[in-house]
């Protein structure tokens, strides 16, 4: 449904997007995660035909964004990260305007608009001027606007940013409904937990590069394999560090900043190998006080993936 090929965007000598390759299947909810400035909005703008790539291209529903932008536009609903509204229009007029801009006839529009307002829980606001709506409502109205021409693909740039928890949940429920309708959704966020639960697949982007992709559980698994172990010894810190460093499955040994005699390292052995490592350490006369696995949640994993490149 969406195919991104060697996509590169340079602003002068600065590379905002570096040779991105990605395939997103129909009906997938794909989440782009990455810190601010990673290149998420740049990618989305190119997909939305608003920005010309320096190199590479992307196909949406088989149409090349650089060659057939007009056809691409028919198949996408794009929601920018920052957007404004025409404040002297009422909510229903706002949708009517965009409906007409997509070439829908008056009858079609007046049938569709109540349904869309219903979908985004704004039926009660149809006669309100857009500028008096709350941020969450505007966000939802904008989402309804993306849907007016019934596109197969939705490109939503940080749709949940700046929303309070309740509005966020509301937004998430609407996205679930859209997924159930079979839409392919590409969504971005700089906060991982915001995305993790509603996406089928994630792509982690950092400094314009895609550093990891896969299903949420695959990324979890992959990183889970590389667990972090904490060790505290009674004495002989240097000897202990030397011992652990010698193990081939141990990497990145680092002294603990807060605690004396403590250090941690990344370990990619199995659980059995982990117990054998401890036994061997004790046999080698290392006085282990504490040997424990650090609890990692998705957010830590995310931090771990994205901090490496700096």
């Amino acid at each position: 449904m969406i195919e991104i090929l060697n996509l590169t965007k340079k602003y002068g000598s600065f590379t905002a997007l570096d040779n991105l390759n990605l395939n997103i299947e129909k009906g997938t909810v794909f989440g782009f995660v990455g810190p601010n400035g990673a290149g998420k909005s740049t990618t989305f703008s190119i997909l939305a035909t608003l920005l010309a790539p320096t190199e590479g291209t992307a196909y949406i529903n088989g149409f090349d964004v650089t060659r057939d932008p007009k056809k691409v536009r028919r198949h996408i609903g794009y929601m920018p990260d920052f957007f404004g509204v025409y404040d002297q229009l009422k909510a229903s007029e706002y949708l009517d305007f965009y409906g007409a801009s997509y070439g829908l006839g008056p009858a079609e529009r007046s049938a569709l608009i109540p349904q869309l307002l219903e979908l985004v829980n704004l039926s009660h606001k149809k006669d309100s001027y857009v500028d008096v709506l709350s941020r969450g409502m505007k966000q939802r109205l904008c989402l309804a606007r993306c849907l007016i021409h019934d596109p197969e693909v939705l490109i939503l740039d940080e749709p949940a940013s700046g929303l309070d928890p309740r509005a966020r949940i509301e937004m998430r429920d609407i996205l679930k409904e859209l997924k159930a309708m079979g839409k392919t959704i590409v969504i971005s966020s700089h906060i991982l937990p915001e995305l993790a639960e509603m996406c089928d697949e994630l792509g982690v982007i950092e400094n314009g590069q895609l550093v990891a992709t896969g299903t949420v559980s695959a990324i979890h698994q992959k990183l889970k394999a590389n667990k972090v172990l904490n060790v505290t010894v009674l004495d002989g810190l240097e000897k202990a560090i030397g011992f652990f460093e010698d193990d081939p499955k141990v990497t990145a040994v680092q002294l603990d900043e807060k605690e004396e005699r403590a250090f941690h390292f990344a370990y990619n052995g199995t659980e059995r190998e982990q117990t054998e490592l401890l036994e061997k350490a004790i046999h080698n006369g290392i006085h282990v006080l504490n040997f424990s696995e650090e609890k990692t949640d998705l957010e830590d994993i995310f931090l771990e993936i994205t901090k490496g490149d700096e």
């Binding site: 010309a52 932008p69 007009k70 794009y78 025409y86 002297q88 007409a100 801009s101």
Partner: protein, 288 residues
């Protein structure tokens, strides 16, 4: 073709304009200014000739003054109305969403231009009752009035297109506006001074000198001068004679303003959306 002129952007712009109090205040203010000038003129002339009458000759004078004032207002308002149409949407962050719709760039640009100019047209049409004073007293031919409005329309179209073009090219409305005002000022006061300068430098003092087409070309794009030649055919005759050009000034003016409008609209249409293949076609070029 129909969708080019009856389209959503145009519809929405009209709705927004007619809904805003500012628009009505604008028209009201405009009419008050024009009315005050007309009344002032009536008062001054009737006091000056102490007769209490208002003769056709004076009525004609009033027509000239009103028309010039009206042209001044058009020149003043057109950049303000048009130079923000695209950059304003960019600043309010509504442009991206408009550009991802199915609307063609041509349709967006033209509806923006037409909608902002229609407002100005509405102002001018609503000033017609003030002109009726002139017709009440005679002295002006209907064809002069028609020419006057023709010049207004062309001026609005030309300067308005430049405004839309600047609004498309420059990211900031303020820059677009200053540039458009600058160009409008050059096309009027600028070319006017240029003409005077050229006349003084090359032609005054040696009446036997061969004809010089330069003044003609400088004022060809000057709506004020062209409007003046409508009222003062003698001035027109002299200009043509000195320039040695037979081609009517109003026609050169019309052609140049239509050309300006066409070019500016074409540039706006081309620049409104990014050329999606731009980056790739320049790939082969060695860059810095």
């Amino acid at each position: 073709m129909r969708s080019l002129f009856i389209n959503p952007v145009l519809n929405k712009e009209f709705k927004l304009r007619l809904r805003s109090v500012k628009s009505f205040l604008g028209i009201l203010f405009y009419l008050l200014v024009l009315g005050a000038i007309a009344l002032g003129f009536l008062y001054i002339t009737s006091v000056a000739n102490q007769s209490g009458y208002f003769r056709p000759e004076e009525s004609r004078g009033m027509f000239i003054v009103l028309s010039m004032v009206q042209l001044g207002l058009i020149l003043f308002m057109t950049p303000g109305l048009t130079a923000g149409v695209i950059s304003g949407e960019r600043e309010r962050q509504t442009l991206n969403m408009l550009l991802t719709t199915q609307q063609s760039s041509t349709s967006i640009v033209i509806s923006k231009l037409v909608s902002s100019l229609s407002f100005l047209l509405l102002m001018i049409v609503s000033s017609l009752p003030i002109y009726s004073i002139v017709f009440l007293f005679g002295g002006v031919s209907p064809s002069a009035l028609a020419s006057t409005f023709g010049i207004y329309l062309l001026t609005m179209l030309g300067i308005g297109s430049i405004g839309v073009m600047c609004s498309t090219i420059f990211r900031k409305t303020i820059v677009a506006m200053i540039t458009t005002y600058g160009i409008a000022l050059f096309l009027t006061a600028g070319t006017g001074f240029l003409m005077i300068f050229i006349l003084n430098a090359f032609m005054v003092g040696n009446p036997n000198q061969a004809t010089n087409p330069l003044p003609y070309f400088t004022v060809m794009t000057n709506p004020a001068v062209v409007l003046f030649t409508v009222f003062e055919p003698n001035a027109k005759g002299e200009l043509l004679q000195r320039a040695g050009i037979e081609f009517p000034l109003w026609l050169s003016f019309s052609i140049s303003y239509l050309l300006i409008a066409f070019t500016a609209i074409a540039v706006s249409v081309k620049k409104l959306r990014p050329n999606m293949r731009a980056g790739k076609s320049s790939k082969g070029n060695p860059s810095s």
